[in-house]
């Protein structure tokens, strides 16, 4: 049989957090290295 599964699209978790003004705090709590990424290019690779 060939079966068609409709997929639904919903706002991503990131969008929800951003809309609630919580994204930065969430990333700080769960992804502190995100902040260091901004300057990663200032260091030699590796």
């Amino acid at each position: 049989a060939v079966v068609r599964i409709p997929l639904r699209r919903a706002p991503s978790i990131r969008s929800q957090l951003r809309a609630d003004g919580l994204l930065e705090e969430f990333l700080r709590d769960h992804r502190p290295d995100m902040f260091s990424r901004r300057y990663a290019h200032c260091f030699p690779s590796g």
Partner: protein
């Protein structure tokens, strides 16, 4: 001891932060409904268990094994390692229904602990992996392999159409099991052989910005991943690419682009199987409304994943909303065509 194997990179759990496409499946008898991401970047099926103790489970549907007459207890533990911890659970077997298809004795995981709080906000309850068995953490056959073994599909093929339109588009997305939907793409489909049977990994010939071959001059590897939303690549390359498209970093690792300049930004071309797949700025930029302000984010992200065949790029939803994708287990190849 849990049958633990390292999952993907620590990016894994956070990539679900951007996941947007999901659909319902039914497990057990009588049927219990769950919404899952159909993820070509993993190969396990897991849903929250009624025994789950995490905050994330409280806000999602949980599988009640004791309610299912077709439930088979397995009891072995499984773990999927994410950056911030382990998703832990217990293996089980039961009848799975996907669309009109019924798969008997499908192995799956009942999660009893979900790390971090990402899943708390998730619109989906669990994940249904569609990668090769080699990628599975849970012992037993992945779902599509069981579909093939139980001959529930005509062709050993499945395909994805993902719409760019926000909710209300019709359809927002479509997974076709056992074939392709010719109304969803502009033929012909171009085929690229799989280079390693774990992810849906293929060779990426080169990446060019505004026609100038800028990255992967000697070729690298890419995985076609419906569970990842952005296009990711090695940090060094992505940093340069962000500069070329005029994206500036924010303090939380995202890259912003001036929405007013989209029409003047360069297009990015991925060469796969000798064919060019080009994304314009309108296509690789993600727009979000913040209050009454529209913000434009780069659809490219740094993810450093090494594979024996070299650094991996990930072609996620940003790419897959433009190109219909066909996954062929019969001939171990990926097909792409303009959606």
């Amino acid at each position: 001891t849990p049958s633990l194997r390292l999952g993907r990179s620590s990016e894994r759990i956070y990539n679900f932060m951007d996941a947007q496409y999901y659909a319902d499946i039914r497990l057990g008898t009588p049927e219990q409904n769950f919404s899952v991401i159909f993820d070509t970047g993993s190969a396990d099926l897991w849903v929250p268990s009624s025994y789950c103790v995490s905050q994330a489970c409280a806000s999602h549907r949980r599988f009640m094994a004791f309610d299912s007459s077709t439930f088979h207890h397995d009891g072995r533990m499984f773990g999927i390692h994410y950056g911030s911890g382990h998703l832990l659970g217990v293996m089980a077997r039961d009848t799975l229904k996907v669309g009109g298809l019924t798969i008997l004795n499908q192995e799956f995981g009942e999660s009893v602990y979900e790390p971090g709080s990402t899943f708390v906000l998730a619109k989906f309850d669990g994940v249904l992996g569609m990668g090769y068995p080699a990628l599975a953490e849970i012992l037993g056959n992945p779902v599509f392999d069981n579909m093939l073994a139980q001959k529930t599909v005509d062709e050993p093929v499945f395909s994805f159409y993902l719409s760019r339109r926000t909710s209300g588009g019709n359809p927002e997305g479509e997974l076709m099991l056992g074939g392709t939907d010719e109304s969803m793409y502009i033929a012909p489909i171009h085929w690229i052989p799989v280079t390693a049977k774990g992810y849906w990994q293929i060779k990426l010939d080169s990446v060019a910005v505004q026609g100038v071959s800028s990255f992967c001059p000697r070729g690298c590897q890419a995985i076609v991943d419906t569970g990842t939303s952005l296009i990711t690549g090695p940090s060094h390359d992505i940093f340069n690419l962000q500069q070329l498209i005029g994206a500036t970093p924010t303090n939380i690792g995202e890259f912003l682009i001036d929405c007013a300049r989209l029409s003047s930004l360069p297009h990015v071309t991925f060469v796969l199987g000798g064919k060019e797949y080009t994304l314009t700025a309108e296509q690789y930029v993600r727009k979000e409304m913040l209050g009454d302000r529209e913000m434009c984010f780069s659809g490219f992200q740094s993810v450093d994943i090494l594979s024996p065949e070299g650094p991996l790029w990930i072609l996620g939803d940003v790419f897959l909303t433009e190109f219909y994708s066909v996954f062929d287990r019969g001939q171990d190849r990926v097909g792409l065509a303009p959606a």
